[in-house]
Assembly symmetry: C2
Amino acid sequence: MAGPAFAARALASFVPASAWLRRYSRQDAGGDLTAGVIVAIMLVPQAMAYALLAGLPPEVGLYASMAPPIIYAVFGSSRTLAVGPVAVASLMVAAALGNRMVEGTADYVTGALVISLEVGLILFALGLTRAGFVANYLSHPVMSGFTSAAALIIALSQVKHLLGLPMPGNLDFGHTMVAIVSSLPQINPMTTGIGAAAIALLVLMRGRLLILLRVLGVPANAAVLLTRAGPLVVVVMATAIVAGLDLQATSNVAVVGVIPAGLPRFAAPSFDLALWAELGPSSFAIALVSFVESVAIAKVLAAKRRERVAPNQELIGLGLANVAGAFSGASPVCGGFARSAVNFQGGARTQMAAVVTAILVGVSTAFLTPLFLHMPHAVLAAIIVVPVIGLFDAESFLKNLRYSKADGIAQLLTFLAVLGLGIEIGILCGVALSLLFHLWRTSRPHIAIVGRVGLTEHFRNVLRHKVTTYPGLILLRVDESLYFPNIKFIEDRVLTEIAERRDLKHFILICSSVNVIDASALETLEDMRVTLGEFGIGLHLAEVKGPVMDKLERIGFVDRLGRDHIHLSTHDAVVRLAEPNGPVAANPASPGG
Amino acid sequence: MAGPAFAARALASFVPASAWLRRYSRQDAGGDLTAGVIVAIMLVPQAMAYALLAGLPPEVGLYASMAPPIIYAVFGSSRTLAVGPVAVASLMVAAALGNRMVEGTADYVTGALVISLEVGLILFALGLTRAGFVANYLSHPVMSGFTSAAALIIALSQVKHLLGLPMPGNLDFGHTMVAIVSSLPQINPMTTGIGAAAIALLVLMRGRLLILLRVLGVPANAAVLLTRAGPLVVVVMATAIVAGLDLQATSNVAVVGVIPAGLPRFAAPSFDLALWAELGPSSFAIALVSFVESVAIAKVLAAKRRERVAPNQELIGLGLANVAGAFSGASPVCGGFARSAVNFQGGARTQMAAVVTAILVGVSTAFLTPLFLHMPHAVLAAIIVVPVIGLFDAESFLKNLRYSKADGIAQLLTFLAVLGLGIEIGILCGVALSLLFHLWRTSRPHIAIVGRVGLTEHFRNVLRHKVTTYPGLILLRVDESLYFPNIKFIEDRVLTEIAERRDLKHFILICSSVNVIDASALETLEDMRVTLGEFGIGLHLAEVKGPVMDKLERIGFVDRLGRDHIHLSTHDAVVRLAEPNGPVAANPASPGG
């Protein structure tokens, strides 16, 4: 009886498509079709541009817009995430391959496919082992610092295409600047003109066109469609001009050239283990960044419709999409921010929209590639640069710095490290830094000596409140679990307190914030019990939580400590242990004392 | 006016000796002299044995017992810690050098001195930057697993000396076992006899001699002195027999041989940068392990006299001691457990005892080295093996496993990794593992939906208590600070709750356990505020702590959220937000519902 229901639930969880397909309606189909068409129009030139950014032939970007989104549609948990090539991941591919291989060679493409496969396998493995939490360690300041630096690097990397400069690709930030300046005399005026015009048009279309169209009375959906067709319109115009005037020959304008027509062929990527090992770290970085970006977008969109994104299922969906990409000649994919937003606004209700997009990209690749022959690189560069500038986020840096010095510093150093030391080392520095800040903070929990507020049962920090303390008694509250990162710090504090107080009889550790006592902390507590005992000081615990108590009981600590040394509340402990003549010492450190 | 007082305090803090020297009494001198003599008698053969364990000439161990403890006496914060060569650090030196250099060569000694210098500089730098907390990440289970494995490796490494087997040194655990078995036919019977007799004598003297002497009426101090002289007595007897019967020539018994007489000469260690880089990671591991062990011992001893150990000052003291060692031909040093205990029991009151010990070791090295000529290796091996067996600690593993699965597993895997993969990689695995467990735990904080207990102002977990909940209201308590490792997990939970409750009007986040909200968490809170707002759900915070509130205020979050969305207590929030007709829904999940 439970079998089929369980199987259906398991299927729905591992293959989310099985759930929405069963309830698929005509209304869904309408929205998905419109959105799918709008995204396809936006995606075709973008996919080629991102391939260019990655140093790959344009068709690799187009292939990344076919099989991967279809596989994601089946296994992904987001209804509206648009999966495909994106700017930041493309840059990371270029950074990973640039120092190892020569752009334009077959080896370079082989390397990109190995990265796709590795990214896919890493994401899939993280999903299966439910280890997606590792991506949390790419904290917001680190991602933000990284993204701002990546935006700068991406924009700078396209300057050569926009100005038609003859310079090598895939240089680091500093060398790119030097190369641009030193090759400026060889600027190509015609290319520069095309690039500048394309940028101007794209900026205008992003900003004003939608308002203009709405003012002119164009219906909302159609207006969005026209706005989003901006890149396509610019590409078509520029291509027509280049082809018509034969600018490639007369003015040496760089163009896309021949793209193999037809759909990608199924082929296994390289299984060269040395290459795998070499590219592994880069793939890991790309996988984590892709996952963080995708989930962030997917969550925002899902929340708008009160849907849920399951991060571990996202890992599986994105993982299988990249594996599919690796076997169909595609560069790594993840969820794109702008594209997903367009998909959502365009009315997408399920991943069927992504399937529509993928089919349309496939049709374009099969039949329209001859039209791409005269498409100028400068226009593709413009398509990359215009949206990417928006990723540079100085505001969030200022906000983070003002809010929390540690976070602001982590963000700034990540930004500088990515620019100065390269993308992967930069991210690594950022993660290491925020982890160090985190560990440092965890290792120094807030600890307060408390006293009684008036005649209530409340106890507060003696340094902040006018409270009553008791002779021979220390009440110490630790605002953190007791575990290896902080237990030595806590022990230090306890030993300092007893070293300074010769009249001490009872030491009460208030455990109201203690959710865990690990083995290291237990060991230290045992030491403390013995040490305090040698001076005739009793160690007491108050407000120990149920699960913590169970473990202390099981290991015999409660018996060794003495059952009468465990108190339900701080107040109970004080009533039992304070001198019979009641409170005598007002707290000298209190504001009123 | 404040100048001299401040200078004196600063001096006392950086040079602890300045404090105890000023109050030094005749009584102190008596205790220190006795303890110093006892430790010296114990130390001379031990120092040579540990040099043998490290693969170094015996004098390197003696030198490590001269300058370093004197420097530690000046800068260390422990009054009674006995600093010098120890077994575990010697093993780590052998492991670091064994695969890179040939034992017995000048290069090997050069390498050891570079390690001393690096260990010293690392410890000193950690002390100056007050970064000693990094050592907390060598959690108790990891240190325990490592120490047990090290004890096994040390014992096994001495088998060849005890049996007189001709086999290469510094093999890993597996290869050592194989080599022992395969060279067993070449066993040296006379060496084996000496080794076995030495072990038997040492075990007897450790266990029974003290009792026997006390029963015979020997005064306590003298009895301790005689017991601790055990190694010296055994060494003297064995050396006399070997020399008298010329066993070296007749039975091929391996002996220490010629030791250069006199004190170590001041000499700069190698500044070969490639060697520095190669040995750096090993030095870092040795530094951390040495620090953790030293502080653990120092704390136990200091607590017995209500003195305090300052961990950062320990780093400086141990750091400078190792630097001094590097310039005087010594292997790395740290606090030895047994030796410090003997020092303490022998009556040491200040580090002057260590100075006495160092001077006596110096005198021995200057005048007695001819006596060491016929000292058999087998006896030194026995001196190493007998105490080290006590370091193997199966009991703590069973206890940790029973107490906490994660800790037990971390300990077992560290133990196995040290045996199987080598010392440094093994420790690294252990640290990485316990860090991963820690991060995993931190990233999934305890979260409870709470309801009101009866008509009180107390709110408790709906899953554990019979409480009242309110329609249109969710009260969610997070038992952890909000920061990047856990904020996505918390966001997931919030989005799940709102996706399941269509009648929701107010979402109240109870922040009673929230000590920090970092920039990542703030960003997510802003997202949550907007997302919830889109559905007409108000986000509220209750019981926000003062410092957290200050930061939220400063960054404008309080204004964006709305001041009436911040509540002093959960009860206040419920009174303000719950339907006017009061509680209607009993909690269906409660035991009574």
